[in-house]
Symmetry: C2
Subunit: 406 residues, 2 copies
């Protein structure tokens, strides 16, 4: 059994690094705070006697040997956060994995398979686009050089940011041995477990998702002497698309979600008609064809809005990941472990992308969800009841033990 | 008669300071470039033998004595620009005033009244809100301490910016003697002169205008697992208002213009439902009651959009200036001067606010407009035919002479 007090102490300690004054977390990928929490993680791994490796993208691995010469079980999540995000997203998964290894150490549990614990670089995709770049490059879905060259809004590259915090490792990115299986615990970030009054989600799959970036170009002019009928206002065309994106979801399919999360205006001056508006569109569904249809629909809406306003547009795809189907044997192992620990479990899909989605391209992967109060996440008020976190970590430890064999 | 070559040389020299690579001007108020062009202006005034004064807000005055002990005629405009704005807006008015004094010097013209030439600080209102703060404070419509404390988006105050470029003067802000009259030349920034095929606009008044700032607050959440129907998306509510603002103008009154020029989103992350959207609304009409009605309408639209989206809002007024009616005797002087110079003139109103609007609260003020090609302004492609600029400067010199008396 895991040690809830020790688990809590680590959670508080890690949460203090990059804490916001409203009990949230602002620890953008490869920021100074991300560097400090990584140092904490590496120290904790070393205290456990694990050998620590850092790859060229800053993914941090610790290896606990098994008793047999077998492929490892990979466990972990991410320590980066959204801007003014929550303390549970990602971090809870890394700390559940750490608590699992500590429990094994305490109880003298030896597993047949080695266990690799991991903290993936840039899961969130907020400072550097797209998301899941550490795990995505690990499985070969992203090109390492492209990821290293990606810039944040200040022009800093991933490579420079890695060097700045001392996590530009030397190990090549990717497995030297394909893991036998991969397991990740995460907060649900949605309302389903809470609504169903369940503590443990057995995740069977993840929605397919696309990120688009649209740039609308109009003509800057003066807000005063320019008659309304001669204007080509980039923001007006963009705003038409924002409202269309909000409203298209319900009409397309029950499970589709569509979001404009970023929007910037040029020159952004109170008395100037906007010359340029750039915005992102995030589209998700468990049906990849529905996602493709929504992308077409966004393009139609852009064309219509730009037709009305006399503006032009460009539309590009920043990221696409098809729907994930996790391995039944991992889901079964989670379910069996939950049954053994007496925590009510339910099967479900995830609307959020996770590092485990990419790992599923490489090996048998699976996930455990614990409830998010009000489904709230990517918000400083993100919250998970501590008993739920403990129950999740316990099921996580038990599942890891099953997968690694004793 | 003015010297077109000398006028052109000054125009090119001033335009090179803060020039963009597309022949525009990026010379925000109190920026380093604004500092350099002010140095140029001061040197030109000193070369003319004028005594130069800088007040606490950085307004720069040069005084040419008259032959009688009379109140002066105030001429000039502004040297700051919009972000990536044009070379004519403001600058052409300052240089027409400079060319006028040079011509008087050359031709040995002595005027009864002294002439004060002026460059007003922060006409544009882009880096520091609101607009026309130098002239507004000069006439007592703005409080000097409030203006000095205003910050740009990086938190730099007007006072700090003034000190940085060495233009925090010591003279108190405001006239030590109320001017007899004030004259400003400006590019029209709209299409009316071009459409009517006239070279000289005799400006009779300026639209009343209001700047509003709205902040919409929703709830940040994840773009994936958050169902559409539970969302409170601040950007969606704001976008609804942007499109309503675009469309309300035509329905309210023929001359109303309504513009959203600035919009920013928090946290502005691709996979996060926007928690906050802040935007400005610029409303103008020659009828101040129509402006007030449009402001009410913006509030109604905000309330409706926030009702639909479950968001909250705050609405505040950043700036309000009622419509300006310029002095008939100045307009008559411009018209007479234009007739004398054989440039076809027409009477008109201005949709853009000008320093002369505030001066009209203090004394008899008036303006001369020259055409803007395609009415385009606040844009690097702002353009005025050079013959039109020369014709305008000539009428400006003649009008100044009339007002100052010889
Ligand atoms: N869990 C999470 O926030 N992942 C980021 C990728 C996504 O947008 O789904
Ligand atoms: N002329 C000009 O651009 N003035 C700035 C104030 C306004 O927005 O009208």
């Amino acid at each position: 059994l895991i040690d809830p007090d020790r688990f809590r102490e680590s959670f508080e300690r890690y949460s203090s690094i990059g804490a916001t004054d409203r009990e949230g977390l602002h620890r953008l990928a490869l920021s100074e705070a991300d560097g400090r929490v990584r140092d904490e993680f590496v120290a904790d791994l070393e205290e456990l006697g694990l050998s620590v490796r850092v790859d060229e993208l800053g993914n941090v691995f610790g290896r606990r040997p098994g008793t047999e010469d077998l492929a490892p079980v990979l466990i972990g999540s991410h320590l980066d956060s959204q801007p003014k995000g929550g303390r549970y997203d990602g971090q809870l998964g890394v700390l559940s994995a750490l608590e699992t290894l500590r429990t094994f150490e305490d109880e003298g549990v030896e597993t047949e398979r080695p266990i690799e614990i991991v903290n993936w670089t840039n899961e969130e995709g907020s400072r550097f686009k797209p998301a899941l770049t550490g795990s995505g490059a690990y499985v070969g879905a992203h090109d390492v050089e492209t990821v290293l060259a990606e810039t944040d809004e200040n022009g800093t590259t991933v490579e420079e940011a890695l060097e700045e915090i001392g996590y530009r490792g030397t190990e090549p990115v990717g497995p030297d041995e394909v893991p036998d299986s991969a397991l990740e615990l995460h907060v649900e970030q949605g309302p389903a477990l809470e609504e169903a009054d369940r503590r443990i989600g057995v995740v069977e799959g993840v929605l397919g998702m696309v990120w688009l970036e649209a740039t609308v170009r109009g003509d800057a002019d003066h807000a005063g002497p320019s008659p309304m009928h001669t204007r080509s206002d980039a923001l007006v065309a963009a705003a038409d698309v924002v409202t269309a994106v909000r409203r298209m979801a319900g009409r397309l399919d029950d499970d589709v979600v569509t979001t404009v999360g970023e929007l910037t205006v040029e020159p952004n001056s109170v008395n100037v008609i906007p010359a340029e508006a750039t915005f992102t569109v995030d589209v998700r569904s468990y049906d990849d064809e529905v996602v493709a249809g929504a992308v077409d629909r966004v393009e139609e809406e852009l064309r219509a809005a730009c037709g009305r306003e006399g503006t032009e547009f460009e539309l590009s795809e920043l990221w696409r990941i098809p729907r994930t189907e996790f391995a039944p044997r991992v889901a079964d192992a989670v379910e069996a472990a939950a049954a053994g620990s007496d925590s009510p479990a339910m099967r479900m899909t995830s609307g959020a992308g996770h590092d485990a989605s990419y790992l599923a391209e490489l090996t048998d992967a699976g996930m455990i969800f614990v409830p998010s109060v009000d489904g709230r996440t990517h918000n400083e008020r993100e919250f998970t009841e501590w008993e739920d976190a403990v129950a999740g970590a316990e099921v996580f430890a038990r599942t890891t033990r099953r997968l690694a064999g004793t």
